[in-house]
Amino acid sequence: GGDAKPADTQLSYSQPHTDPFQNAENVGSMERFKKLGYATIPATNADRDPAQQITDIQTLINKGAKGLVISVGDADAIVPAIEYANDQNVPIVAIDEAPASGNIAMIVRADNVHMGELACEEMGKRVKAGSAVITLDGDPVTSNGRDRTNGFNDCMKKKYPDVKLVNVATEWDPAKAATGIETALNQYDNIAGIYNQSDATFFPTILDTLKSLGKLVPVGEEGHIVQVSVDASPMAMTAIRDGYLDAAVAQPMTDYIDYGADYLVRAIKGEKFKEGKTDHGSVIEKRKGNLVDLLPTPVVTKDNVEDPELWGNKKFALEAFGASK
Amino acid sequence: MTTPSTTVPAIQIDRVSKTYGATKALQDVSVSILPGQVHGLIGRNGAGKSTLLRMITGLETPDTGAVRFFGEDAPPAADAKAWQQRVACVYQRPSVFTNLTIAENLFAGRLPGNGPSVSWRTMQNEAERILAEWRIDLDPRSLLSDAPIEERQMLTIAKALDAGTRIVLLDEPTVQLEGSAIRRLFDKVQELQQDGVTFVFVSHFLREVTAICDSASVLRDGKLLWSRTGDDVKSDDLVEALLAGQEQRRHRVESAAATATDTAPALELRSATEKGGAFTDVSFRVAPGELVAIGGVGGSGKYSVGEAIAGLRRLGSGSVLADGEVIPTGKVKASQKAGVGFVPADRHKDGYVPQLSVAENMTMGVMDRLAPAGFFSPRKQNEMSRTLIQDVALVPPNPALAVSGLSGGNQQKVVLARALARDPRVLVLISPTAGVDIAAKDAIYALILRALADGVAVVLISDDVEELLVSSRVLIMREGRIAAELAEPTEEDIVRAIEGLE
């Protein structure tokens, strides 16, 4: 309804599972809706169950939501929910991950495979040939885990074939990550780097594990293990400042939230979007029939760690992660 | 009643052997039973009677040897239906479904109906017919869990006899039954025998065997001692065969009532009433060294009185006193501390922990003494149990053996030893010799006598008139109240009082 007043228009958010990152996206989006003057329906959380996310979205629509931002848990399994929303003429904006099909007003995301590749570049230029790198693989059941693994592995194999990869299955469990690191360090004496697929999940546990093993050595000193991570959460920012983390590929979380909500509001007002450059330095592309605003994923290093625009430095992120600067 | 010897035997057991681990339960046993006979199978606890029956029902297969019915080889083990058409059995262990209705219990394994579908109507009608035939006053639609224990036993018997098989096996069917029910059973057995049905009847009650059996076999330690037919089966022979040289004693404990008046009672019940429960206004006293027996029909509340003294039931009003002190009811520990030792009615359910050792079972109630500071020494535990093992003459006398490996009679001795472990001042014994062979029975009575001599007050609660006769002072309960007190009763006195025919 393009004519309805914002205050009478209810928006909501569907979260696929619980982790600090997803929680922050949920909280941030709901706040953004309110800031834009819209009414909200409490958000839902599907707890890792794709079927539940379908039901959640249907329930939110039945309950009167006029537009939804969703963080997609499973690109394929979400499709029936999108189709339901299409039938009911409720616009959907997807953030973080693209649904495989269905009509989406806009997909706001970064490319996880690309993040893996960026991490590979950062890693590759810092470790010597003949050394080994631990990769903390996210749960392959989740597409971001899968993509970050594949992006990194394929790039390493192509560009740095002489670096041995030691894969650790973490299922996003910090305890498994810590054990995996310790096992690998026992097994190989040439570990030169650690690729951490989610610093939001694995910090502070693995920093502490390295510390207790006497392997937490600052950048530039003898015995330093190169660390490259994905997310660039507040804790990663601290680690970069402290000189333990070499580089973090930032998930542009604030952008997900802000642009996600903005696109939704514009779609409700009836706006149609087009391919091409945006006003925030990204390009909207058409992929599988839907428009994708592929946000840039800046690499954070010591050089740009103080940039206030990085989400890991924002107040809401510090709060959501219970971290302080 | 004897059948011409020319007929083929209904059951022919041919050189059957069965071994469980180290136990040779049956060794080379051969028995032939002619059609229309009621064949008594007797022997001490663990002699192999139940095992032999399991071979005849097809529930288990012999290691060697064979079973034939009417000259034909037994069906293959897997073909349960074929076995069912030939043999029906009342097993020693209760085999009922408390979660199902009485009707379904009567027809489990042979539900009436077409093909796979069940006809509840037919089943109901048939069940009503059976219940009427057996004069069992129950609604076939009610759950079996609502039926009293002894009626459940009658139902399993009724089921077996209704199966229409030419062969029926009864493994100690009368243990749970009272007099009139036993009579009903015997009438029915004889009626079916007229029609040519063959029975095998296992019992430790020799009077029952001589009353209805026209042939008999005696098993001892898994071997067949002898098998005889007709007039050759005499009570004396059976006793002789069972005791194997030991002499049988007659027990009768003279009343200590004379002394009871001037000594303070070791146990006293004052208007004891269970809240919403099984007995009302029960009062009696037992002096140290005195034996009081309590009898009554099933459901009269006699067991519940015993359980209340032992602390397993809570009183609504009235009190239980030991040595003049009121015991808090409903707490086993409190009763034990007041000096009460207890042998429960059902040893399988309340008596022992099967996989634990003899030593542990015997000392289970005295751990606070073995381990005053928390930790106990297994050596002390073994020593204590060795004394108890000697006291009750356990066979084998090994404290480390798991109780599950003992014969029924010896399991009962373990339960008795557990009751004695605390040097009780009062012993409450419920059916202490149920399912126990005569030699073991003797041993148990001897123990009771010794306890009495040591000044222990004993309450003996039993369904078995013979057992009640051991005491010269017998209380009879009816509908939860003490209906009569008999001094020096005869068997007839007791039966009349139990049945309420004063």
Binding site: A51 | V96, D137, D146
Partner: protein, 339 residues
């Protein structure tokens, strides 16, 4: 003759069937108050609750759970357990889909006929059930622990086969049962309803159904009564697993894809539904109508919690609390006379 016994006898036989069935129903019906309360709350918190689309949604989202619960109830009645049912929900359609879809989409590329794939789903379910049944009945392993090991193994195989990917691009025929509508209502709801009716009839009116109760009540006695306990148990495991694989097929239809996490945690809901509905884990007691009410309670509860906008972080706590409460009510609503 004591008073207790007299009571039983004096009930006129004409009345007792009705009374008897009410008494037998109490345990199952003890879910009803809970269900009604949750529904009333739902109607209060949101006008959307009592609308046709919402009620349809509740039923549709409960369909897979319901089908798993039918099989689970069969198994629980025998006194056994199979927690690997949830992994069968995932594995059976995953293998079928893997053989069904093009290699480019993550399949093996054999691209078998969709109807063969449906059949295969059910056959895989049946085989898993057979394997579980044999382990429990013949190898005599504890059903809980063996199905736990199977759960890990089957989930692992699902992950290995799919390489963690979600398999999409399923042909319509394969998706049909999970996505079609009959007379405006999802086919899955019709099918689930029919399966519940069949299950109730089987339990009540077939020898096999009655055997489940007998075995759960007293397996030794059942054996002694000539019931082929082993055969019945194995068929029960097979039936339950086949139903689970069918639920998986339906779920795949609903998700328009097969995810490698499909069915995860479903068994917990299924157990909760069955037990809240009066099915005893110790075997021999419970009825399918109770299990159905349990399923509906959980489905309605999830729906109402969402409608009520319970904060996402507290939703699980509320859910757990309500289940606990329902168990409580069930316990006191129908306290058995003796324990």
């Amino acid at each position: 003759m004591n008073s207790a016994r007299t009571t039983v006898i004096t009930v006129p036989s004409g009345r007792s069937p009705f009374l008897g069935s009410v008494v037998r129903n109490v345990r199952e019906l003890s879910v009803l108050p809970g269900l009604i309360i949750v529904a009333v709350i739902g109607a209060i918190v949101s006008p959307a609750f009592l609308t046709a689309p919402n009620l349809t949604l509740i039923l549709r989202q409960s369909a897979e759970l319901g089908i798993v619960v039918i099989g689970l109830t069969f198994i629980l009645l025998t006194g056994k357990l199979d927690i690997s049912l949830e992994s069968t929900v995932g594995l059976a359609p995953m293998v079928a889909a893997w053989l069904l879809i093009p290699a480019a989409m993550g399949g093996l590329g054999t691209m078998i006929n969709p109807f063969v794939a449906i059949l295969l789903t059910l056959v895989i379910g049946a085989l898993i059930g057979l394997f579980n049944g044999l382990l429990v009945v013949k190898v005599k392993l504890d059903p809980f622990i063996v199905s736990l090991a199977m759960l890990i193994l089957l989930r692992g195989i699902t992950l290995g086969v799919s390489q963690g990917k979600t398999l999409a691009g399923l042909p319509d025929a394969f998706r049909y049962i999970g996505s079609a509508r009959w007379f405006g209502v999802p086919a899955a709801i019709w099918v689930t309803g029919i399966l519940f009716v069949i299950a109730a009839l089987v339990l009540r009116y077939t020898a096999w159904g009655r055997a489940l109760y007998a075995i759960g009540g007293n397996a030794d006695a059942a054996r002694a009564a000539g019931i082929r306990v082993d055969a019945v148990l194995i068929t029960t495991f097979i039936v339950a697993s086949t139903l689970a694989s069918f639920a998986g097929l339906m779920l795949a239809g609903r998700l328009a894809s097969v995810t490698s996490g499909m069915g995860q945690n479903l068994i917990f809901s299924a157990l909760a539904a069955a037990v809240i509905g009066g099915v005893q884990l110790t075997g021999g007691q419970g009825r399918i109508v109770g299990a159905l009410l349990g399923v509906l309670l959980l489905g309605t509860l999830t729906n109402v919690l969402t409608l009520a906008g319970v904060p996402t972080f507290w939703i699980n706590a509320v859910y757990g609390g309500v289940i606990l409460l329902a168990l409580f009510v069930g316990r006191f609503g129908a306290r058995p006379s003796r324990t």
